[in-house]
Each structure stands twice: as structure tokens, then as C-alpha cells.
């Protein structure tokens, strides 16, 4: 957390060490703080986000997609949407952005270790889950992991390296699908829910982590409910317009909860207490 209240809103410069082009819309920025000492002491947990400053563009919340176990480096995967991200996409290695954070309630990592895990992601939604998956794998997660990932087209598939390496891990099943095939695509075509239908899962022994567009979330939730998942075992992240990141400005409110402080990670059980558009359609 920020060291003192004096710099609650003031970011720290962070240098772009590498830019990975995931697809035409998503780039992953490998960043570290210019202040070495601060960088060495910096840590975060999967599910948390950073407020990213770009000169003259203000700030935007971006979830961390790397695992905290790789110390000294932060991956932020950014999808083009709006002015700030447009400008950020033009930035290159050596350029400097401002970062403050990490903010938000992380995924409940401790509760995941003794369970089977189901990850369902769509598009950029894989970013925060990637952080969880890699952290779990690095920690030697022994139980079954199922990863389902949906993209619009084969060329929209992001995090290809990760997907490939997960696919080769022993206790991991990693399945991809696309909405629309392209020449050369031999994989699945259709919604992630179709993939999900084929997976054998033990609803009482599995934690499900979902992240993606509202349409997908709703469809997956319906199926998981059918299969007997408890609301407390379904975990997702919410996305809202944010300004302060620290629970004051109220832009990210969902009823009496604030996504920046009480989220972005929520269990379905918690969300059902609120009026959440993503769940209602």
C-alpha cells in the first residue's frame, strides 16, 4: 500500500521494460518502478489492480496480470478502449508511466489451494486470472485445474505463450474456443459455455473463477448453478469506472459497495446481495 497519506493520489514513475503485443487490441506492458528501492519492496496479490497515469490523460485502473512471485516486475495487460489506453498503446520500451497501487481486494488464494479450480475467461478477462493461474502453478497446486478461454477470432487469442505452457502442464486442462473461425483454425468454435458443458466437474470440490464480458458471465453462471455450484464457490471480478481507487470518490459504487475497495473480486454470494447489472442482463 502507499507508504504515507501524503502521496495517496500521487503516482510513482514506472518504466516500460517490454511491450508484448497480445493481439490487435491488447498489449501487455512489463513495468518496474524507476525508484529501485521502492520496486524491490513492492508487492501485490492476484486480483489487485494499479491506477495507471499517462501524461495529460489522467488515470485508469488496470488489473495486474503477472504473478507476484516474479518479483520486481508488474505486467499490465491493456485493451484499447478510450483515450488513455489508445495513448498507452503507442508507448514503447523505455517510456515512463505513473503507477499507484496495488488496490482492491485480491482473490482468496488460501481458499483455492485445496480445491479443484475452474477458470473461465473471455477476451481481456484472462488477464487477472492469468495472475491467479500462474501463482497457483508456481505454488505447486496439485489438484485439477481446468481453463476455458473464449476469444472472438483465432487472431484475438491473447496470452498465447501462457496458454501453450498451461496446455502442457500435467494437471491442467486448457481449452480454447472462438466465436468465429479463421482459415487454419482447427479448434472449437462457439461459446465457452459449450466447452464447459463437456467438462466433468465436481461442484462440491471446485472453485470457479470467471472473468469476461457480462454476457459470458451470465451464461456461465446459469450453467454452474444448474450443475450445483454453491454461490460462495463462484468468484468473479467486476469492472467499473474509477477515479480515486481508494474508496472515496464513489464512481465505482455498486449499491453500498465500492468495487475499488470491496472488490474487484466478489463471490457470487456477495453479488447477489446487490443490484448488479452484469447479473441481470
Amino acid at each position: 500500500m502507499p507508504s504515507s497519506s501524503q502521496d495517496l493520489y500521487q503516482p510513482k514513475p514506472a518504466e516500460i521494460r517490454e511491450v508484448i503485443e497480445e493481439n490487435s487490441q491488447i498489449k501487455t506492458f512489463d513495468l518496474s518502478f524507476v525508484d529501485r528501492e521502492y520496486n524491490d519492496g513492492f508487492s501485490y496479490e492476484p486480483g489487485q489492480f494499479m491506477m495507471v497515469s499517462i501524461p495529460h490523460c489522467g488515470e485508469a485502473p488496470i488489473s495486474v496480470s503477472s504473478t507476484p512471485l516474479n518479483g520486481g516486475t508488474i505486467h499490465l495487460s491493456v485493451r484499447r478502449a478510450g483515450k488513455l489506453t489508445e495513448v498507452m498503446h503507442e508507448m514503447k520500451r523505455g517510456d515512463v508511466v505513473g503507477l499507484r497501487g496495488p488496490y482492491g481486494r485480491p482473490f482468496p488464494m488460501a481458499s483455492l489451494s485445496a480445491k479443484d479450480l475452474l477458470f473461465v475467461a473471455g477476451g481481456i478477462g484472462l488477464a487477472p486470472l492469468r495472475s491467479v493461474i500462474n501463482t497457483c502453478l508456481a505454488a505447486g497446486h496439485e489438484r485439477r485445474i481446468t481453463i476455458l478461454y473464449g476469444s472472438r477470432t483465432p487472431s484475438d487469442i491473447a496470452f498465447k505463450e501462457d496458454l501453450a505452457s498451461w496446455g502442457q502442464t500435467k494437471n491442467v486442462t486448457c481449452l480454447l474456443t472462438v466465436d468465429r473461425a479463421e482459415p487454419g483454425w482447427e479448434g472449437e468454435v462457439g461459446l465457452v459455455t459449450a466447452l464447459l458443458a463437456h467438462c466433468s466437474l465436481d461442484p462440491h470440490e471446485t472453485k470457479a473463477l470467471l472473468c469476461g464480458p457480462p454476457m459470458m458471465i451470465r451464461a456461465v453462471l446459469a450453467q454452474l448453478a444448474d450443475r450445483g455450484f454453491a454461490d460462495g464457490d463462484i468468484i468473479t471480478t467486476m469492472e467499473r469506472h474509477m477515479k480515486c481507487g481508494v474508496g472515496i470518490c464513489r464512481h465505482c459504487h455498486m449499491d453500498d459497495k465500492l468495487v475499488c475497495k470491496d472488490g474487484p473480486v466478489f463471490t457470487l454470494e456477495e453479488l447477489k446481495q446487490l443490484k448488479v447489472m452484469e447479473l441481470q442482463g
Binding site: 493520489y9 514513475p13 489522467g58 517510456d95 469506472h241 470518490c249 475497495k261
Partner: protein
């Protein structure tokens, strides 16, 4: 040390003059145009301190200004991006003539800005302040602090508080700084006797009887909690709302804000915080243009739910202090009192 004193009305100005030597003085001033505003006083002899009318502004703008700079930045090249804090002086300040609604609003803002994380800008302005309250003997036409239960008299939260007893003020203190003022300037204060205390109670009784609005706030809070507010009420309100944001801006407890960059040169700028209102559709619209809230909750609905439902759920009290400033200023004729009346009227 006794806890109630008497200050002669003739001695108010001399006392303020003394306190002004060490503090910036902010008080309700009636200006030459005929408006009463809380304003900084440079020369006590040139202004008219107005304790008769409600100041049109609250203390919000002093602790949480409409626009303020959080820090400055410069980016002379793409590989350098620096941030400089703006250290703004916050001299010791005495706020005089603060009524119970505005005082309660400051206490609410303290929770918002200081409870979970400490907002540095708010904290800087809030520390070194003395709040001198004024109990309301004559609630104004649109006041309903009796319904929000924080007025017309209040017995906590101030440093010093005055009650007008006709020819004299009864003076109480709640915080040590108030106590210090009394002991530092003991020559102005005489000990209050039983008669004075009785007179204060009489003033309180009479003040309670002077409210012109009857506002069933508790009932509205209950209905909101049980989700019993008819859809037709929200529809009517959102049709009436003309999207000015005035209710939130004028409200002493509405503290939503936005943060943006104000470019000053090609390679430098300031990060600005400014008032925002949850009634605006841009308040929740995300970068790609998607708005996760508008479809289910209309702006004005968000605001009333926040004040009377979510804050009650969170802090067990509504975040409306009944100051009445938003009443009758609405372009479309919707305000919190109308909402409460609509909600609590059986016919709707």
C-alpha cells in the same frame, strides 16, 4: 472548569477580533448584493456578519473545494514523467456561526475523507480548524434537520457553540480547543447560571416548534431498506431531473469527485480533483462507452439511495443533514423532500 458560559453580545466582536489575530476567520457574511455566504474576513469592520440568514454555501467548499490541485506533473520526454506535490498552506482557521446541519456535514465528511484512508488534501485543510457552532433558534423555511435528527440544536462535534439568548450568548464547548479559547480569553466569559441553562432549553423547545416542513425521513428510509419504493416514483423523479447536478453541488454532504489532468503546457500539467455528481450519466460510463449503471438506476435514484439507503446500511445514519439547501432549487421540481413525500404518500 464549568461547562457553560455567558458571552455578552457586545463582546462577540471584540472576541472575534482577538481570535482573528491567530486564526483566519470564516463566517457568514452578508455581501453588498444581498447574499449571505461563508467567506474569509479580512477586516471585521468592513463586513456584516450575518447570523440571521442561512449562508447559501456550506463549509464543504473550504475543506473539499470545487476544484483543487492534487499534484503537478511534467513529462519533458516520453522516458521521463515526474510528479511534484503541491504544498498548500493551511493556516489555522476558525469557522464561526456554523449551524448544526453544517456541523453535522463536516462530521460526515470526516468519515468519508479520514476514516478508512486519510485524504491528504482534506486532512490538511481540516486540521488546525476551530468550529464555533450556532444553535438554530429560527429554522428556515426549507429546514428539516429535526427529521434527520441533527438539529436544530446539537450537543457534540463543535469546539465552541453559541446559543442566542436574546441579549447574550450561552457558550458551550465540546473539544479541548474550545476549552482553551475560554481559558485563554477568560475575561469575555462569565459562568452561566441555572436561569441561562433554562433559557437555552426554552429556546430549544421553541425552535423545535418552528419547523415548517414535516418530512417523514424515517419512513422513507424504511421503505427504501425494504425495497418498497414504487417504480412510478423513480420514473417521475427521473423525468423531472434536468441533469444540472445542482443538488449534489449545493449539498454539504455530497462528496463524490472526479480526477482529471489539466494540461498547462505541452510537457506539464496538474492533476485536478473536482466536484462530480452521481446524477450525471458520465459518472459511471466506462472508457469504452459502456455504462453498467444507467439501465437499471437513473441518476437521481442513485443519489437518493446513496443518501437514505446505502449510507444508512453502512453507517446507520442517512447522509442528509436536513439543511434544506436543495429544496426549491431543482429545475424540474424534484428534491429530497419531494422524494420523501412521494415515497411516503400512500396514493402513489
Amino acid at each position: 472548569m464549568p461547562d457553560k458560559y455567558i458571552l455578552k453580545k457586545d463582546h462577540l466582536l471584540p472576541l472575534l477580533r482577538k481570535l482573528k489575530k491567530t486564526h483566519r476567520l470564516i463566517a457568514p457574511v452578508r455581501n453588498r448584493h444581498g447574499d449571505t455566504l461563508f467567506a474569509g474576513i479580512d477586516n471585521l469592520d468592513e463586513v456584516r456578519i450575518d447570523l440571521e440568514n442561512q449562508p447559501q454555501n456550506s463549509l464543504k467548499q473550504f475543506f473539499f473545494p470545487q476544484q483543487e490541485t492534487l499534484f503537478t506533473y511534467s513529462n519533458p520526454a516520453s522516458d521521463s514523467y515526474h510528479f511534484e506535490p503541491v504544498v498548500e498552506e493551511s493556516p489555522p482557521t476558525l469557522y464561526f456561526g456554523v449551524r448544526s446541519c453544517d456541523l453535522s456535514a463536516v462530521l460526515y465528511m470526516d468519515v468519508v475523507f479520514l476514516k478508512n484512508v486519510k485524504d491528504p488534501n482534506y486532512q490538511r485543510k481540516r486540521q488546525n480548524t476551530i468550529l464555533v457552532g450556532l444553535n438554530c433558534n429560527d429554522p428556515f423555511a426549507n429546514c428539516f434537520c429535526n427529521a434527520t435528527r441533527n438539529g436544530p440544536f446539537i450537543d457534540f462535534g463543535f469546539d465552541l457553540q453559541l446559543t442566542d439568548l436574546g441579549d447574550r450568548f450561552l457558550v458551550e464547548y465540546d473539544r479541548s480547543r474550545g476549552q482553551e479559547i475560554i481559558s485563554d480569553w477568560r475575561q469575555f466569559f462569565a459562568e452561566a447560571d441555572d436561569q441561562d441553562v433554562k433559557a437555552q432549553y426554552q429556546a430549544f423547545l421553541e425552535a423545535r416548534g418552528k419547523f415548517r416542513l414535516q418530512v417523514h425521513l424515517d419512513q422513507a428510509v424504511k421503505k427504501l431498506a425494504r425495497d418498497e419504493v414504487p417504480e412510478s416514483v423513480w420514473e417521475e423523479l427521473s423525468m423531472r431531473c434536468q441533469d444540472c447536478g445542482g443538488c449534489a453541488y449545493i449539498c454539504p454532504t455530497c462528496t463524490c469527485f472526479s480526477i482529471s489532468d489539466l494540461q498547462t503546457t505541452d510537457h506539464a500539467g496538474e492533476r485536478i480533483r473536482s466536484w462530480d455528481a452521481c446524477t450525471f450519466s458520465g459518472f459511471t460510463r466506462m472508457a469504452g462507452g459502456h455504462n453498467p449503471v444507467d439501465r437499471q438506476m437513473r441518476g437521481i435514484e442513485k443519489r437518493f439511495r446513496h443518501k437514505l439507503q446505502f449510507d444508512v446500511k453502512k453507517d446507520n445514519r442517512p447522509s442528509c443533514v436536513g439543511c434544506g439547501r436543495c429544496v426549491n432549487i431543482c429545475f424540474g421540481g424534484t428534491d429530497i423532500v419531494r422524494f420523501i413525500n412521494m415515497t411516503c404518500c400512500e396514493n402513489i
